[in-house]
Amino acid sequence: MTTLTDPPKEQFRLSMLLYDTRYRSATIQVIAMLCFMLLAAWLINNTAQNLAALGKPIDFGFFSEPASYDINQRLLEYTSRDTHLRAALMGLLNTLVVAVLGCITATIIGVFVGVLRLSSNWLVARIMTVYVEMFRNVPVLLWIVLAMAIMIESLPAPRAFRGEDPTATMKLFDSVAITNRGVYVPEFLFSRSLGNIHLFGDSSLRFDISLDLMAVLVVLALSIFAMRKVAAKAAATQEATGDRPKIWYIQLGLLFVPMAILLTVLGCHFGYPELKGFNFKGGTYMRNSLIALWLALSLYTAAFIAEIVRAGILAISKGQTEAASALGIRPGKTMRLVILPQALRVIIPPMISNYLNLTKNSSLAIAVGYMDITGTMGGITMNQTGRELECVLLLMLAYLIISLSISAVMNWYNNSVKLVER
């Protein structure tokens, strides 16, 4: 009689860590982790030793010292007596301003150029190709420098506006002054202002919220909400009766009447720029450094976006266009309502990386003296305090956070576009 025995229980041997696929991956991972930790430990150890030798231990205390330098473009209140931290905050805001402005205009120009590159007009298509190739194949640093130089050289200086017979005049009924120091446009002023709410007391993060702006935004939001209600009601009527009631005048009224009432109550009027002393005073002032950087970044990035848009449009099958024209839709509308929405799915992923590139390229602001975060924290602050390690690490962290936020937002948007797909 034979007895069946279980196969002998497999003993764990050390070599199984390498040759048994069950354990091998764990082994490799442990080794990788160990290597990484060793590397990190080595770097940290070196850094500690070097810093000790230099006598500069890591210390962020300098951030609460007064910065002692001025920043020309400041979105919040700032003087040279404020701390380095607040100066860095001003820089961060300036980075965000140029990044947001740049992304918006780059998208608009890019879509426009991308569509025009496919234009049936030979000359226009060629010009757009020349534009795209010119901008894509020359470094962005050069474009930034050139944009600034062109602005400075070709626009009139404020002193050209002075005197009996000035060589330059203000545009648009004397309300806009375009100079080589920047552009001055009228600003909104409120004679019966509601005042500000001041937050965070005296700290470096303090800021004011304008109640006037808040009121305007609230009224605008309410108006839009009411307009949508009216539109929904009209749609319901159309569903029920087949007749769409005329609502455009109600909508216009809803949009403008409350706003007009609010602005009158607040005593809204324009503040015009005026030439006083060395410069124009009053009005909103966009500095030449901002304009040059904004222009160069948007034109440069737009060249890349144009290519993406063109590829996206070409990816949509010809049948879509033909079907649209069979339905009697005009070419312009076909592009807007049929092609672009579909192309969007192909376009958005590479667009994200272009937005990221634009934001990162904004760090070249230093070339035109725009005080972004690289110019404040990574520039003057670093120079004056000699705290390279702290400043560079924080600078990288700031950009990393901005980049990750942009990716997160754009990925969320990408997913929401994808959901429409069937």
Partner: protein, 434 residues
């Protein structure tokens, strides 16, 4: 009456199409004036072109080529045209073009970077024009990195040779030890022996050899590198070195090993999330702090390290795209042949994935190449840095547009031809897949 026919029996001779439909006029009607909107666009475009060209042309062509200083330029302009505005002073390019191209590289040794560049093209030809160039050229491709280092930096020939020898050792060990101890072990052993060779043995051996047999050419310190040559060198080194790193990172990012994947993703996203200028700040300000006390790299070498890390992250993403574009069947086919992971990668996956990735790699190269201009911000003398230095010379103080126009022209030529090549390749690859 029967001969009266109401129907024409013979064909009418063909008439030439109306003049408005053929030739230049027809073409213009179709392509430029096919509607009122198109006509308006055309007229606006022509006006814009005229405006730009009428400004640029006189400046470029009514210019001064022979002058030794800006002052002399201005005098010649005043004498010739009566004013100094609207005329370029190319004298500065005439005077300094060698410096703009080669930096401070000794002028009697200019042949070395030129030969390096020609050899680079030759070494790349079997990859870039795979269908036309014999694969035997791949030997040159393998030897090129060492050859380039030798040519550019000069010095003793034993240094590059011993560095190459390390690779040979690793290769031999992997090849012959695989049967004995298995692939993974052989690979680890090969790499370990090579590292030991480079770190411990090669230094003294090179010293001994070069004192015994001093074969070499004049050494050039990397301080002297500059100008457009520096941009090309930085770009080539960054892309060349980052290719293997990028492959490893891309494979790591695709792998099932959680920790390996996390490390790779962390590295890639970190590098892609920060601007290059901050990495260059690290190179110029912090890298010495991160390395053991007393180590002191040349700034150009430090910049090369950071640019390599930078391009490795982008390269990894390009190669990941290539891997993702490969049909699933290729992986399954490799599995069904019983190939293990590394064999499958080496023999089936990578050759195809890399081929698909070439256009992406070329555009990464163009990007890196343009980004090398940023090194001027940390004080290196690339073309833009040199332009500032030239303007600081008393003779050329005050000159502006000419230098930037020249630099932009150089970059445009190189980048444009590369992007055209990449487009040609894309078209070729596309037909290959249909």
């Amino acid at each position: 009456m029967s001969d009266v026919s109401f129907v024409r029996t013979e064909m009418l001779p063909e008439k030439a199409p109306p003049a408005s439909e053929v030739g230049v006029i027809g073409w213009a009607r179709h392509n430029l004036f096919s509607g009122w909107f198109n006509s308006a666009l055309t007229i606006v475009s022509i006006a814009a072109i005229y405006y730009v060209l009428s400004g640029v042309f006189p400046w470029v062509f009514q210019s001064v080529w022979n002058a030794d200083s800006l002052g002399e330029c201005r005098e010649i302009m005043k004498a010739t045209w009566g004013s100094t505005h609207g005329h370029a002073c190319w004298g500065v390019i005439n005077d300094r073009w060698e410096q703009l191209l080669f930096g401070f590289y000794p002028s009697e040794l200019y042949w070395r970077p030129i030969v390096s560049l020609i050899l680079l093209l030759a070494a790349l030809s079997p990859i870039l024009f795979a269908d036309r160039v014999s694969p035997k050229m791949l030997i040159l491709t393998t030897a090129y990195p060492f050859l380039m280092v030798f040519l550019m930096w000069g010095g003793t020939i034993w240094g590059p040779l011993s560095a190459a020898f390390g690779f040979v050792i690793a290769y031999l060990i992997i090849k012959y030890a695989t049967e004995a101890v298995g692939e993974l072990f052989a690979m680890i052993a090969g790499v370990a022996v090579a590292v030991i060779w480079w770190l411990l043995l090669s230094g003294p051996i090179v010293e001994a050899l070069s004192s015994a047999m001093p074969i070499g050419i004049e050494a050039v310190a990397s301080r002297k590198f500059g100008g457009f040559m520096l941009a090309i060198l930085l770009g080539v080194v960054a892309i060349g070195v980052s290719l293997p790193i990028g492959i490893v990172l891309a494979l790591g990012r695709q792998s099932d090993l959680l920790i390996v994947k996390a490390l790779c993703v962390g590295f890639i996203e970190f590098i892609r999330g920060v601007p290059l200028i901050t990495l260059l700040f690290v190179a110029s300000l912090l890298l010495n702090i991160f390395l053991p006390p007393g180590t002191n790299f040349d700034i150009i070498l430090r910049v090369m390290i950071m640019m390599t890390l930078f391009s490795a992250a982008y390269m990894a993403e390009v190669i990941r795209g290539g891997l993702a574009a490969l049909p699933r069947g290729q992986y399954e086919g490799a599995d069904s042949l019983g190939l293990d992971y590394w064999q499958a990668q080496r023999l089936i996956i990578m050759p195809q994935a890399l081929k698909i990735s070439i256009p992406g790699i070329v555009s990464t190269f163009i990007g890196i190449f343009k980004d090398t201009t940023l090194v001027s911000i940390i004080g290196l003398f690339d073309v833009i840095g040199l332009a500032s230095a030239i303007r600081a010379d008393t003779a050329w103080n005050g000159i502006y547009w000419e230098l930037f126009a020249f630099i932009a022209f150089l970059f445009f030529i190189v980048c444009f031809s590369m992007s055209r090549y990449s487009m040609y390749l894309e078209r070729k690859l596309q037909t290959g897949h249909h």
